[in-house]
């Protein structure tokens, strides 16, 4: 990644598309804490799937804005949602072509990498065979071939945090199960190793990319991949009301994912990720379902 600003400085204004989502909210909050002007936009303001969305967005953008595109219909599991997601990206491309933006930041996903590639780095081939991965990759290519402003593509690993609206398998579900005194249910023995990133850290990295006006591609991952069982054990140890950890018969083969985070170490040498242990403590403290 390359920094166009030699030192950090707030963008004139940051337009966050998808501001009501898990990452969008956290980012808006981080920008606010830094005193950086923000225009949060969600589907209530602009439905990016509509044919007129590009023009509507253009009218809201100003020259010199930084634009963060974090909205998506996720997970993308059907051809219909793939088309909708691409229509959203088309709207962004149409609008961005008409305005002199200072920067565009696209929040993609590590789903662009095929399962089983280890360790994943920014130079790994983005040739996912999942619809969700293909969707993000297609959006990346749409933006990189049409946006004139400096483009940063960020690919976060699995996210967690108190405000996560999803209840997917992993830290968030485990924490909620524990809070309700239920069993923490693992797939198989919970052997799969994954890199879990606290949403606050994702917001911090995006903020740094905006402040340094960085361009290029960067994965957002901690470099440590505990197994789901290890995560469940941390959650259970934190919550006295937690039920036991229960294994279930395995249905799918075990696939691990590890990251080589050298590029992050070079891009932001003084940034430190929150450990999964500290992140789960924070998530529990911030959570309303304790």
């Amino acid at each position: 990644m390359e920094h166009l600003n030699s030192t950090a400085e707030n963008p004139l204004r940051t337009v966050v598309l998808g501001a009501s989502g898990f990452v969008g909210k956290s980012l808006s909050s981080r920008l606010g804490a830094a005193g950086a002007p923000v225009l949060p936009l969600s589907s209530k303001e602009i439905d990016l799937c509509k044919a007129s969305a590009g023009e509507e967005l253009r009218l809201r953008l100003r020259d010199g804005d930084a634009l963060v595109f974090v909205s998506a219909i996720a997970p993308c599991k059907t051809p219909a949602s793939l088309i909708q997601n691409l229509a959203m990206a088309r709207a962004v491309c149409v609008a961005a072509a008409e305005v002199e933006l200072a920067q565009v930041v696209y929040i993609s996903s590590d789903a662009v990498y095929r399962d089983g590639v280890n360790p994943v780095s920014e130079s790994s081939r983005a040739d996912s065979d999942s619809l969700h991965g293909v969707m993000h990759r297609a959006r990346e290519v749409m933006l990189s071939t049409t946006v004139r402003a400096p483009l940063a593509v960020l690919r976060p690993s699995l996210l967690y945090g108190a405000a996560d609206p999803h209840n997917g398998y992993g830290p968030n579900r485990f924490r909620r199960q524990a809070a309700r005194g239920e069993k923490i249910v693992l797939f198989g023995e919970g052997e799969e190793q994954r890199d879990h990133v606290l949403v606050d850290d994702v917001a911090e990295v995006i903020y740094r990319v905006l402040a340094r006006r960085s361009l290029g591609t960067l994965n957002i991952a901690t470099g440590r991949s505990p197994s789901f069982r290890e995560v469940a054990q941390i959650v259970a140890a934190l919550d006295p009301s937690s039920g036991p950890i229960e294994a279930t018969p395995r249905k799918l083969p075990i696939v691990h994912r590890h990251f080589d985070i050298t590029e992050m170490l070079k891009t932001f040498p003084d940034f430190r990720y929150t450990s999964i242990e500290d992140g789960l403590v924070k998530s529990r403290a911030d959570s309303s379902d304790r």
Partner: protein
């Protein structure tokens, strides 16, 4: 009658080769078309550093003459064209100087005088630059930075490319070349130009294969609790691998020459429509391993912020001032927010691209008040450091020592967190494996064959 041999191109390869020829009894004519360099050599000042070079140069001074005038070549029995070939950041060679020298030499010497290209060229180069009577040869050189004189004086074999090698025996060579090479007492292999040109590349590719395997397995050792230094002696006793195999773990491949040959194979394979995926993996693995120290530094920081980091060693390996693709340069670039305090016996601190570098006067001085120490080149001088002295100077406890120049037990006793390539990550500070087996060997980066 004593042979008169010319070497054209007085850079690293030409100088070392000329001195070795003189040491073997030839009268040597050193030609360089830049009078400043010739004046420098005449006055006894050598622009390069190699073990034993100064001593041998002085001892053979009477058998060496220096000139920037091509006409001196006309009286020579044999002419070598031997300038170093520069490479770009992608490993591509620039052979324009070799071509230019070849033209000048061809114009200056009689058609029957054998001309030998010693500089590395790509397959096809020699045949596309024909001389009258077929008196053009390509000789493979395997110079190693830091061991150049040893390699030039005692070669394992000579590989010579000819326009038509006949039966592959030295009898295919003209008398002056055959006589000169036979004086070294090693096998002489004659072959087609293209085979010799590719043989040179093949040597480096095989070395890269060994190194890549070693580095891959050393990293695995770190993850599964094995110790690469325990495995290496077992591999060396396997005849199929051998006692001299390049299987010490290192920080990737540097120096520029092996990288150049990997790039050449990838390019040639693309042209020929053959698969070079495995070679591309070597390159990728090298880049990945180069950053081992950076990753370890951050991983072992325990979340602490660094103020000053001591970096010992800038050269890509000991006994050379070369920094081509040195991992120390890459490390420094990745430590921009922190102050770097650095020392190298030959390379000045200014070689590091970093805004906040403190040049130190010694290795111990570099360690003063540093939050962490990283030893990037295994100079002998660093092996003599006492961990207890380091512990007194350092503010932090973290010592990244990829090549194991420090005694691990003494580091532990001094309270240092000593991190070594190919050792288990979680327990490395508490293990007591004797590393004497390493100390006599070179755990440096790949010794780079030019």
């Amino acid at each position: 009658m004593t042979l008169s041999i010319a070497f054209v191109g007085m850079t690293h390869l030409g100088i070392c080769s000329a001195v070795a020829a003189a040491e073997h009894g030839a009268n040597v004519v050193c030609v360089h078309f830049d009078e400043d360099r010739i004046r420098e050599l005449r006055s006894g000042r050598l622009p390069i550093s190699e073990p034993r070079l100064d001593e041998l140069f002085t001892a053979n001074r009477e058998r060496m003459q220096f000139s920037s005038d091509a006409t001196v070549l006309a009286q020579c029995d044999l002419v070598y064209i031997a300038p170093d070939v520069p490479t770009d950041s992608e490993g591509r060679s620039d052979v324009r100087l070799v071509e230019s020298l070849l033209e000048q030499v061809d114009a200056a010497v009689p058609g029957e005088t054998p001309v030998v290209i010693l500089s590395q060229v790509s397959p096809g180069f020699s045949r596309s630059h024909p001389r009258r009577n077929g008196q053009l040869f390509y000789q493979v050189e395997t110079l190693i930075f830091g061991r150049a004189m040893e390699r030039a004086l005692y070669p394992e074999r000579f590989i010579v490319g000819c326009i038509d090698p006949d039966d592959g025996k030295p009898s295919a060579l003209p008398a002056p070349l055959r006589e000169f090479l036979e004086g070294f007492g090693c096998p002489i292999l004659c072959m087609r130009y293209e085979s010799a040109e590719l043989a040179k590349i093949s040597i480096n590719v095989c070395l890269a294969a060994s190194l890549s395997a070693a580095n891959t397995l050393a990293e695995l050792c770190e993850g599964v609790g094995a110790e690469w230094s325990e495995i290496v002696p077992a591999l060396r006793l396997d005849r199929r691998i051998g006692g001299y195999a390049y299987i010490e773990a290192g920080l990737g491949i540097a120096g520029g020459n092996i990288e150049r040959d990997l790039a050449s194979v990838i390019r040639l394979s693309r042209q020929a429509g053959t698969s070079a995926r495995v070679i591309e993996s070597f390159v990728e693995n090298s880049h990945y391993r180069r950053d081992w120290a950076l990753r370890t530094l951050h991983a072992r920081s325990g979340g602490r912020r660094f103020a000053r980091i001591a970096v010992l060693g800038i050269a890509y390996k000991p006994d050379t001032a070369s920094t081509k693709n040195s991992p120390a340069l890459e490390l420094a670039r990745a430590l921009t927010p922190f102050e770097i305090s650095t020392y190298d016996p030959l390379v000045p601190a200014s070689a590091l691209e970093h805004a906040r570098v403190r040049p130190a006067t010694s290795a111990l001085d570099a360690c003063s008040d540093a939050d962490a120490l990283v030893i990037m080149t295994p100079w002998q001088e660093f092996r003599e450091l006492k961990p207890v002295d380091l512990a007194q100077r350092l503010r932090g406890r973290l010592v990244i020592d990829p090549f194991g120049v420090l005694d691990r037990n003494l580091c532990r006793e001094a309270g240092l967190d000593h991190q070594l390539l190919g050792s288990p990550r979680a327990t490395s500070a508490s293990r007591t494996i004797d590393h004497d087996v390493h100390r006599g060997t070179d755990r440096s980066r790949a010794e780079d064959h030019a």
